[in-house]
Assembly symmetry: C2
């Protein structure tokens, strides 16, 4: 092949090559996730507008080079908590042709609420990062570096808009995982929402065991409960907003806990320590091909004119 | 009061004051825990003997100032895996008046096996530290700094021997928690053995959810499964060696998981983020008083002639 990434070609540029001029980005909500995204884009020299109902969050973002504005265009990113996602744009002016995306941890309900208003201009997203801290004081422009960023490709998603949002994610160092909203919600139930419930149950049960137990708590307990230090309103919105998938995933955990411990320990150890190789792939700009990449556990790392580059897991 | 630690007294010495000359310490098993203990004592200038069946572990310990020997006296520390605890002293010569302790993660079974041979010279112990790594390559002389170290006070435990072992733990920076073996085993089921099973179940269930789920796994999944990266033989010996208490603690977690999620999340968050103040206390050298300290969630931080200093939690 003779394209830019082929053998013998000139060295690949370090950053993704947008095929159209990079659109402006407008971030609504400048807490940990939104503030970090806006700061990372501003640090990369990209024009970023932002808004937050909290003046302190606006001031913090402005100090990082974000232009504070109620008028947004290009790629508009809703970075607000799930319960207020549906009203995030109230009082703001959004360009009629803007692509709208979000960073919410559940995708089905956001697709129903935001998607109903925005239509096919909406592309649901969920970067798999963030810590148990929250708010603008927890902003970190490096937050997305190396993180997976799930991006929804529904049957009616306009692929050029999906690619525009993907380029924003790639620009801050994330890897883009193409998914449907339903696939996303099933997956995060298993790897995020159930872990939050297990952490809560572990902490509450240890408390019932008494002060001696809490006094002896060490690494395994701290690791196992850390995530429930997150804002409980946020956690509750997440698990209740994905109740069906979370219930099913919790049932799978219960089935595992009912197995003989020797088998359970051996299998859990094997999963947790499985070598994680990866194999480079190229995927055409096609919904079915992109979704296959995501289902295989792969991700997009770079966008080129006629395809994307990425990888799939390689057990080696 | 006019003792050394009273108001107006001379500044307290930085290290614990042994009331008798510090006995030599002999460590059997020079992997992560035993090797770290021996290295920490050697670094503090204390004479330490050690033995390991693995020549590489012996060489690594010798390089850290540990005298390699099959003849042990003073405080003899069994730092071998649970399944071989009963035969750890085979082939070694132990002084007849030596105090024997161990670092095993379950105390009831060790009391039955080792205690049966050693009698009232045995003091069971369990430092609440260590990582998912193991072996002499994971040795860290700072491993015990600030860690809680459970130390068993059974009805027939000789208090002077208990204090001698406590001084070894204090000398490497640990805080000593007086417990009975049964209290210990109930407590660690809740805060260590159940977290290992939950981590295994979480990993195994996520694997069943498919490659997409594992690809999206981020912080909460990594935290929630880290501990099952530990050696599975070690984990299995631990949970199977404490099956009764672990089953009961797991049942408490299941009860929590059956509660409404909003309540569960709120309660788990409250436990995980509860402020942890502490209040200084003095405790006489008396079994009942020391065990009361442990049951209150407290620990011993310093030994003086007629009492120990320590603290209890203070909700403030």
């Amino acid at each position: 092949m003779a394209d830019a990434a082929g053998p013998g070609a000139a060295p690949a540029p370090r950053f993704p090559v947008p095929t159209t001029p990079a659109p402006p980005v407008g971030v609504v909500g400048l807490g940990q996730l939104g503030g970090s995204l806006a700061a990372a884009l501003a640090a990369a020299g990209r024009p970023v507008q932002g808004w937050d109902v909290d003046p302190a969050a606006r001031d913090a973002a402005a100090a990082r080079g974000v232009q504070i504005s109620r008028e947004l265009s290009g790629v508009v990113v809703l970075a607000v908590p799930l319960p207020v996602m549906g009203t995030a744009l109230d009082g703001l002016t959004v360009a009629p042709d803007a692509t709208v995306t979000d960073l919410g941890s559940v995708k089905g309900p956001v697709l129903e609420t935001v998607g109903a208003g925005v239509g096919s201009r909406f592309v649901g997203g969920h970067p798999m990062c963030g810590t148990e801290r929250s708010g603008h004081a927890a902003v970190d422009p490096g937050l997305f570096s190396g993180a997976r960023w799930a991006l929804c490709l529904e049957p009616d998603t306009e692929l050029p808009r999906w690619l525009r949002v993907a380029e924003v994610a790639l620009a801050v160092g994330a890897e883009v995982v193409p998914v449907t909203a339903a696939e996303h919600d099933d997956a995060v139930a298993a790897i995020s929402h159930v872990p939050h419930l297990l952490a809560a149950a572990l902490a509450a049960a240890a408390d019932r065991a008494g002060p001696l137990a809490l006094a002896l708590a060490a690494g395994s307990f701290r690791d196992g409960t850390r995530v429930i230090g997150s804002d409980p309103g946020f956690v509750r919105a997440m698990v209740e907003g994905n109740a069906g998938a979370t219930t099913a995933a919790l049932a799978r955990v219960q089935e595992e806990l009912a197995r003989p411990w020797a088998e359970l320990v051996a299998d859990g150890h094997a999963v947790a320590t499985r070598p994680q190789g990866r194999r480079a792939v190229r995927v055409p700009l096609d919904r079915a091909a992109l979704l296959s990449l995501g289902r295989a556990g792969g991700a997009v790392t770079r966008r080129l004119a006629a395809f994307v580059e990425g990888y799939v897991p390689d057990p080696a």
